[in-house]
Symmetry: C2
Amino acid sequence: MATIYEVAALAGVSPATVSRVFNGQTVSAEKKRLVHEAATKLAFTPNRTARRLRGQSSEIIALLIPDIENPFFTALARGVEDCAREAGYSLVLCNTDDDPAKELHYLEIVASEQMAGVILAPASDEVDLGAIVSLGRPVVAVDRTTPYPVDAVKIDNRAAGIGATTALFEAGYRRIACIAGPAGIETTEDRFLGWRQVVAARKTVLHDGYLQHANFRVDGGRAAMRALLALDTPPDAVVTTNNLMAVGALQALAAAGIAPDVFGLAVLGELPFMALTPTPFVQVRLPARHLGRTAAAMLLERIGGDAQPPRTVVLRAEVNPREEQAL
Amino acid sequence: MATIYEVAALAGVSPATVSRVFNGQTVSAEKKRLVHEAATKLAFTPNRTARRLRGQSSEIIALLIPDIENPFFTALARGVEDCAREAGYSLVLCNTDDDPAKELHYLEIVASEQMAGVILAPASDEVDLGAIVSLGRPVVAVDRTTPYPVDAVKIDNRAAGIGATTALFEAGYRRIACIAGPAGIETTEDRFLGWRQVVAARKTVLHDGYLQHANFRVDGGRAAMRALLALDTPPDAVVTTNNLMAVGALQALAAAGIAPDVFGLAVLGELPFMALTPTPFVQVRLPARHLGRTAAAMLLERIGGDAQPPRTVVLRAEVNPREEQAL
DNA sequence: AGTCTTGACGAAATCGATTTCTTGGACTTC
DNA sequence: GAAGTCCAAGAAATCGATTTCGTCAAGACT
């Protein structure tokens, strides 16, 4: 690993001049040539650690997500990465497992690694951004919001819930249940509120137990669907508030021998590798990748020094009834 | 962001002493107390950049994978992360898109960021590890091997191919085709060799066109399956050499109205969110997460100074005919 | 008592790039 | 021709933690 000093020595100039060559400062053509020659000969790459120590910041942004195995978040990560790389930034992906302690740990790392900024899908409302915000590091909340005055990008979850439920209603279903995520998480809360609003407005049949809370994973969805099917008056359709729970619900339906066109299923989120039969009846596409791109763009603006008051961008989901779904 | 100097000043000791307190050196109890007090009062976190500059290495390991949206690689990443975090390391995930240029770019970053090591799923055989290897940074190749003398963890792909094909044969299929990945990629090459070996040994019917090469993605699998179905003598079963192509194949089958028990389908890889009907007939589980854990463990050993000659660990895949598949 | 060992701990060097300061020379300008 | 301006480029400070080196004092040993 050649250093700037070795390059300087070989080129017969001072280290300062070498630095100037690589940072677009005023250097004579002759020395510029010498430095470039020496640099290529030694395969010189500036040491980013030293640069960062001096410059107090790096070209790395962190993305904290609750579950790297959830396609929603990998699509989001992909969006962030695309945008970040275009701007010359690298991405560090951290898995928080929805655990506030891990989240906090990673936020500390962000600070002490002097990363340029963070995009965070908060594990809970109680996330402690105090330290990082007061440090002046840009933060963008994604998918969920926070009580702190930081930028946020989210989806209009209530509208998504309304859209899904309405689509089921218009398709003729009248006993529409809902498999919601863990209570207290904003994202799923809003989605289920959308469901409730439609169900109340349309005066559909609503039995006890039509609202199931589950964890955000496949097993949660499966258990919730089983519970629904076991009710005295089971529903004829269900809205699941995330992608993995929908998979679980489909599994439970399949196990019970119920075809998903008899039983209406609306999914909030994409089931990327499932575009085969059985297809859910209604799919509300959540623009995960776009979410990521938007968040990254906002973060980069902040990193560039933009100091306008915090913004919240709300993206709208797209409701696709089955007949419009392309294979 | 408090520095060690401020802590030292507040505690009335030298910066060296503060450093010693945090690095388990011999310091008197009294000063230790003073330093800890000062440190908590100032919310001191050591600046990792400075530490790294001095120590020439960081607690970050990089994982370079071709596609972050492929569940196989996210499971692998998960395995790496679990293992790394236990050891106090953080993980940087980089997406290479199977593009050698991006790969090289990230390898340069690894070097200039002074990361502790890299786990790499090489984009191609021509990956240039020369620079990083000669720098002495530990490298572990995962899923695919390289010509360089570095540790590697891979799957016994030929055995996986043999297992899948044999299972189909034993289930009575006699016209077994293969949808392989891009020519020249070791992983898929070995799998398809396994298929060929069984097909040759069992003397099954083998028509022109029974071997299809496709890209590793869903659309490739779909196109390949369409091509197979359009043959004069179409196969009655197919081995797909990765997970996404299997999804595409299932889609094409569904579109053609063919149930997957009539037509035998063997998949190398997991279709994690698809454990519903239609289920592929044979599934060869590739231990992705385990692959990640193993690679991380090996890398950490190297980082710890282990200097034994390069090892290659081969993990065996597990063949699950459908009846054994648990829901 | 005197030398040796040991241990705590401060001063200062170090990691490598960037960024002020400074300097010396070329070039204007009156 | 003297004074002022400008610019390339080297010397040195800087970022913050670690680590070597050296010092001083207390305790051990002969």
